[in-house]
């Protein structure tokens, strides 16, 4: 018995050490976010705040109405967008994973080129605003970035790991491709599907570029852009103080604000992860074949 347990204990020990390494910097960041700006300036960053203060967080929630709207928009786009992209990416990935699809090589290259080359910001911006009319609407959050070559490829790899016999038996039963995709492939790819959904959610959560370039309506700002504005306002105020030669500008939270924002943005996602984690347990894939 001892022989089997020892490696297990080792494994857990190693993991616990790793977890400490992973968590400590975030812990430090949280501690710093609870400091006062003047302490940071005088004493530099330290692990335990000399004066516990919520001043950085107060600035974030100062305009709670706008903050809530930003949360709303972000949650909406961060959930709908990955879901849509699952549809767009999953379908084409399935097609190119099937050997019977004669054009799969060409389509793969078609996708590959979009991964490597692009027109750049300006042509996209001109097209999106002037031709497609997406500027300053909710659609710009939902539609941009929907199809991603790397996600397609991840799906494809995952799909090709599914035993071929399953698909063949469904074929023989007369199922069409869409049904195979929906009822066999996707359920059996739960880990990668949830991984891509999660990544998509994070991407939507952290995104600010679309707000920055396309949105001027305050009600459509994403969370990160809203927070970015909070910081640049703080910076603006500090500079104004400096310009007028007044003292006191330095004490307006700026460094601590950056930390507070980092903490505030990551916590919701970290809280969400355990729900995704459900799909990440052993023994999912096995089973269908035995039937």
């Amino acid at each position: 018995m001892k022989k089997i347990k020892f490696p297990r204990v080792m494994l857990h020990t190693v993991f616990i050490i790793l977890c400490v390494i992973f968590i400590i910097p975030m812990f430090i960041a949280v501690m710093i976010s609870f400091s006062t700006e003047s302490d940071i300036i005088t004493y530099g960053y330290s692990i335990i705040p000399r004066n516990f203060s919520l001043e950085a967080y107060k600035i974030i929630i100062q305009d709670s109405a706008s903050l809530l709207k930003a949360y709303g928009i972000t949650i909406l786009s961060a959930t709908v967008s990955p879901f849509l992209s699952l549809i767009f990416n999953g379908t084409i990935a399935y097609s190119i994973s099937r050997p019977e699809f004669k054009a799969r090589k060409i389509v793969t290259i078609y996708i590959l080129i979009t991964m490597l080359f692009g027109g750049g910001l300006i042509p996209s911006y001109i097209l999106n605003t002037q031709v497609y009319g997406l500027g300053n609407t909710i659609w710009v959050h939902l539609i941009l970035g929907l199809v991603s070559g790397s996600n397609i490829i991840l799906f494809r790899v995952s799909f090709s790991q599914i035993p071929k016999s399953l698909i063949e038996s469904a074929d023989i039963d007369g199922a069409n491709q869409a049904q195979i995709l929906l009822h066999i492939i996707i359920p059996m790819s739960k880990p990668i599907v949830s991984m891509i959904f999660f990544t998509g959610f994070i991407g939507g959560w952290n995104s600010y570029a679309t707000s920055m370039y396309y949105i001027s309506d305050k009600n459509l700002y994403q969370l990160q852009y809203y927070l970015k504005n909070v910081i640049s306002n703080s910076e603006f105020i500090r500079q104004s103080f400096a310009e007028f030669g007044l003292k006191g500008g330095e004490d307006i939270p700026f460094q601590t604000l950056k930390f507070a924002i980092c903490v505030a943005s990551s916590l919701p996602i970290l809280m969400m992860f355990p729900y995704i984690q459900k799909f990440f347990s052993k023994g999912i894939a096995a089973g269908s074949l035995k039937e």
Binding site: I41, A56, Q62, D63, S232, N233, F236, I237, E250
Partner: protein
């Protein structure tokens, strides 16, 4: 049939072209909304201030409304690329103004001013230096906005408690007698540091050498481009036949590198200077700070020393002005050097009305000044705006000498997150405070006004390259970028002294890389331009 259609189309085209060509004079009768990009930060209460402003504006400039919004600089560049219609925009230090001009973002304003803006024209004549900083080859690209900066003169600032350790008479004498910074100046400062060390009170927290380098070491040199970019191109301001060189390789610079290395070794410069941030330096506590600008808030007559006071009226720091009137000069114009402007983008739908509006703000009448005050400061407590909207941004206190002082609502010296309107919270001052409007915050000192309109253009020494604008960004942006890359990498190491004893090797490497980056070509080009300029003027 096809032929007929072709001819019809051709006719329509031609008519279209010609009707577009007719420049209609704006007689102010059309209802216009000016889209105004006011900067990069959203202002709280912008909507109500805008609404009130538009009400008042309608009486002075009929059929005109403004719509204010803000954009990041990156977003602004993108909107220009996509040709979105913006009528007026802020530009300045957070945008790369010279490049924006060379990219063609802004309209040339000369004709618009002639036609629609007599007040602007007057301001242009009075504040010629400021306007020169937005003029390239005779074309004006933006209207400068008042900054509380009067003139560039170097100063050396130390806390009051350390003042006895500095031989200030020697320092001032050496500086006033030599328009460039000699080695003796650094010896005096070196002595000051060592006096503090010997007295056991030396504290190098917050001590940074970058401003000391860029403000004091460069004395006597006039720069032809912004010092943050390119190769620090400059020339001896009092030279009869100036030659443009790179400051980084001058004798004055090398002397400073030597002292910086010495101070780094002796622990006078903090060990972590390469990673620190300069915003923490304060005149009352940092052992030495410096800069090159003088604001009109505390200028007085004497050219030796100024004082900074604390809340109790005690002196908290001494500011030694290293240039006296004989040293000062006015020279080449660095585009964008006055830091903030209003410009009219080429995508403007109503440039004529925009110019009329900007002219109105600069008319210096009681009504127009009221408009400016609303934009800059928000609602005054006793104003009808405050009554109407149920909020106000400042109160006005009249001082004994007739000046006004504005107090933000719940005014605290150190506003925190919970104070809505600490003084700069509603402040678009540097978005468009024109030169001729009184600054109600502290009353624009007459001294400063006179200095800008009279002393600077008429009394200060004009260098041989007065108002010379080489505008290298137009054709040599890549070469300048290369130089910028090299100076960015090496210069800080040298003026921070971070290489210690090995600074001479680093310097040799630096010189080599500058040459490899093509500094000699740039110098040749710019000197040719300078020679041509001097022939013509």
């Amino acid at each position: 049939m096809k032929k007929v259609i072709c001819i019809l189309i051709c006719i329509l085209f031609t008519v279209g072209i010609f009707s577009g060509c007719e420049k209609k004079k704006d007689d102010g009768s059309a209802q216009v909304t000016l889209r105004w990009m006011t900067g990069w930060a959203e202002q709280k209460d912008r909507e109500i201030v805008q609404e009130y402003f538009n009400e008042k504006l309608a009486k002075l400039l009929p059929n005109t409304k403004v719509e204010m919004f803000h954009l990041d600089d990156a977003a602004f560049a993108l909107k220009m690329a996509a040709k979105e219609k913006i009528d007026i925009t802020w530009t300045g230090y957070s945008h790369d103004f010279p490049t924006e001009i060379s990219n063609g973002y802004f309209l040339e304003l000369n004709d618009l001013i002639d036609e629609y803006a007599p007040a602007v024209k007057e301001e242009w004549e009075s504040y010629s230096d400021a306007y020169a900083s937005a003029t390239v080859d005779g074309n004006l690209y933006a209207l400068p906005i008042q900054q509380p900066i009067v003139h560039q003169t170097s100063f050396f600032q130390i806390p009051a408690k350390y003042n006895e350790y500095l031989d200030s008479d020697a320092l001032l004498a050496e500086c006033h007698n030599n328009y460039k910074t000699t080695e003796k100046v650094w010896q005096i400062i070196d002595e000051y540091f060592h006096n503090l060390i010997n007295a056991g009170i030396f504290d190098n927290t917050g001590f940074y050498t970058s401003k000391i380098f860029s403000s004091i070491a460069t004395r006597g040199y006039d720069f032809v481009e912004s010092s943050e970019s390119g190769g620090w191109l400059c020339y001896d301001a009092h030279a009869e036949n100036p030659e443009i060189v790179s400051f980084c390789t001058t004798e004055e610079a090398k002397t400073f590198y030597k002292y910086a290395a010495k101070w780094y070794k002796e622990g006078i410069i903090p060990l972590d200077i390469l990673t620190g941030s300069e915003t923490t330096a304060s005149g009352a506590s940092t052992v030495a700070i410096s800069s090159k600008s003088e604001s009109w808030y505390n200028v007085d007559e004497e050219r030796g020393v100024r004082y900074e006071y604390d809340e109790n009226g005690e002196i908290k720091s001494y500011i030694y002005l290293l240039d006296d009137y004989d040293n000062l000069f006015t020279g080449s114009t660095i585009i964008g050097s006055m830091r903030t402007y209003n410009a009219i983008p080429f995508t403007a739908e109503n440039p004529e009305r925009a110019m009329m509006f900007l002219n109105l703000l600069r008319s210096n009448t009681e009504e127009s000044n009221e408009l400016v005050n609303i934009l800059c400061y928000g609602f005054e407590e006793s104003s009808d705006a405050a009554q109407k909207y149920g909020t106000y941004h400042y109160t006005l206190e009249e001082k004994e000498d007739g000046d006004h002082v504005a107090h933000g609502k719940g005014y605290v010296i150190q506003p925190d997150a919970s104070s809505d309107y600490g003084m700069p919270h509603w402040k678009l001052t540097n978005a468009f405070l024109p030169y001729r409007t009184p600054n109600i915050l502290d009353g624009q000192k007459e001294w400063a006004k006179d200095y800008l309109t009279n002393v600077v253009p008429n009394e200060l020494y004009k260098t041989k390259l007065y108002h010379f604008t080489p505008n290298l960004a137009e054709d040599y942006s890549f070469e300048l970028a290369q130089l910028s890359q090299v100076t960015g990498e090496y210069l800080e190491l040298l003026y921070d002294g971070a290489m210690g004893d090995k600074w001479e090797d680093t310097y040799a490497e630096f010189e080599g890389k500058l040459k490899a980056a093509g500094i000699e070509n740039i110098l040749t080009v710019v000197n040719e331009k300078a020679q041509e300029y001097m022939k013509e003027n």
